[in-house]
Amino acid sequence: MRINWQPFILSLAVLLILFPFVYLVFLSLASEWRFPDVWPSYLGFKNWVTVFGSEAGLLSSFFSSLLISLSVAVFSTTSGFLISKAVFYHPKKKTLTLLAYFPYILAPVVFAACLSFFFLKMGLFGNMTGVVVAQFIIAFPYALLFFSSFWNEKVKSYEDLVTTLGGNKWQTYTKVVLPLAKGLILICFFQTFLISWFEYGLTSIIGIGKVQTLTIKVFLFIKEANYYYGALSCCLLIFPPVVLLYFNKRYVFKKLV
């Protein structure tokens, strides 16, 4: 008789997927966990209480990250959507699209290192505005390319139809284009939010350690070998996207394939 391995492999896969989440929560609850102990000598909410008592600045990092990511997502989705129209209806759209790919595929950290001089000159070095602007520069091409397939002949025909029927630009957008693009705009917002939320290299270069987002905190704790706080920052970093994913999973791949 042939053994059916599928349930075992699938269960193993589920355990492997859940393991990092469980382990990080566990580590964030631990302290005094020295080699070779398999179990920590302390397990409780001490670290979490300290953090929410606003020591270690994790809570303020959480809100900085949130503010930066929301700003980047709002700016890049709005500008990406509006500007993509001009780009994808342009006769030279192939060349313009190609140009949009360059900043998008370059490693953000290298891009930031080469841009840092200009940020310094503009007074955008080491502050939150600078980090938002820098992240916007990499999130914008993503948003722009994201909307590439939205602007097609069908949408154009709808727009023409509204004009023929006497509608103005405002009505075209509010009554036709935006309702049609609603789903895509939401996904783009979600994706650009995540790009910013997960960003480390660029933020570390432009923020020079002064703008302490959660990813910067994780790395600082790793450097200090404070793994319990590191794990706690990881938890704060991954749980908001889990919630977002729960609401968005059905949309995440709609645009890609």
Partner: protein, 284 residues
């Protein structure tokens, strides 16, 4: 009015999407030739010569290339296998959400987590000690910050394989591979032929641009190699940042040489990938 509006859009596009990239590239280029920079006194090829002679760039590029290649091929291969074997189960309610969870974990967390598990004082070292496989931490094999980049490759695979599984599942559905397989079967094809002639060609063809894009992303990855990489050779981004941030002023210019070379390679890849095709729906 009608002509003016698109022009504003294009001007804005150029301002946000093109000018920063061009400015960054020109700055790095001028720095690499000694035209600008704190201790530089005018045009020189010295930094280019020293980078090309030392071979650091080529070593680092080759190292990054191999790591990215191994990670992408293993992830794509694994994801294809999972899609082929477990597609039906993965569409069920519970699993269909679970498989999205890895997307919520960023590179820096993956790096941290891999370090926690595989370092000499990490989770697996503790278990090995308990099982009597090792007697002290130093006996545990080098699995992070190691020469073979085990930690980096493992992190990359865990980061991108779930993405490819989801991608392939979606292509499978959207391209109606199921129906095509049934058709092939009714025409007399066996399971093996269906896999080779229907399943693999459709899935690979529809996603190859994204596969190459992921390869390029991994080539320039920063956080994971920063946490899990070794001193030498380093992956490209880590090397560039380390050189640019050095106190040795000559090294800064050399860092910009590496940055220029890397940018040129990535740009060439973008041109090859995106220029000849009329429409690229699958790469956004």
């Amino acid at each position: 009015m009608k002509i003016k509006k698109p022009n504003i859009g294009i001007v804005l596009f150029l301002l946000i999407g093109v000018v920063p990239f061009a400015a960054a590239f020109i700055y790095a280029l001028l720095y690499s030739f000694g035209v600008i920079g704190v201790a530089n006194n005018g045009f020189t090829l010295q930094f280019w010569e020293s980078v090309l002679a030392s071979g650091t760039f080529f070593k680092s590029f080759g190292y990054s290339f191999i790591i990215a290649f191994v990670a992408v091929t293993s992830s794509v291969g694994g994801a294809l296998w999972i899609t082929l074997k477990f597609r039906k189960q993965l569409e069920k309610q519970f699993l269909s959400f679970i498989i999205y969870l890895p997307l919520a974990i960023p590179g820096i967390v993956t790096g941290f987590f891999t370090f926690q598990l595989f370092s000499k004082g990490g989770f697996f070292a503790r278990i090995s000690y308990k099982l009597g496989l090792i007697t002290k931490a130093s006996e545990f094999p080098d699995l992070v910050n190691d020469g073979l980049a085990f930690g980096i490759i493992l992190s990359f695979i865990t980061m991108i394989m779930p993405f490819f599984v989801l991608l392939f599942l979606n292509v499978y559905k959207n391209e109606r591979v199921e129906e095509l397989s049934v058709l092939a079967q009714s025409l007399g094809a066996d399971a093996n032929q269906i896999t080779r002639k229907v399943f693999l060609p459709i899935l690979i063809q529809k996603t190859w641009v994204l596969i190459v894009l992921y390869f390029i992303f991994l080539l320039g990855a920063y956080e994971v190699p920063l946490i899990l990489g070794q001193e030498s050779p380093q992956m490209l981004s880590v090397l560039i940042i380390q050189e640019i941030k050095q106190y040795d002023l000559d090294k800064i210019s050399e860092g910009y040489v590496v940055a220029v070379l890397y940018t040129l390679i990535v740009s060439a890849a973008a041109i090859v990938l995106f220029l000849p095709k009329r429409k690229r729906v699958y790469a956004n």
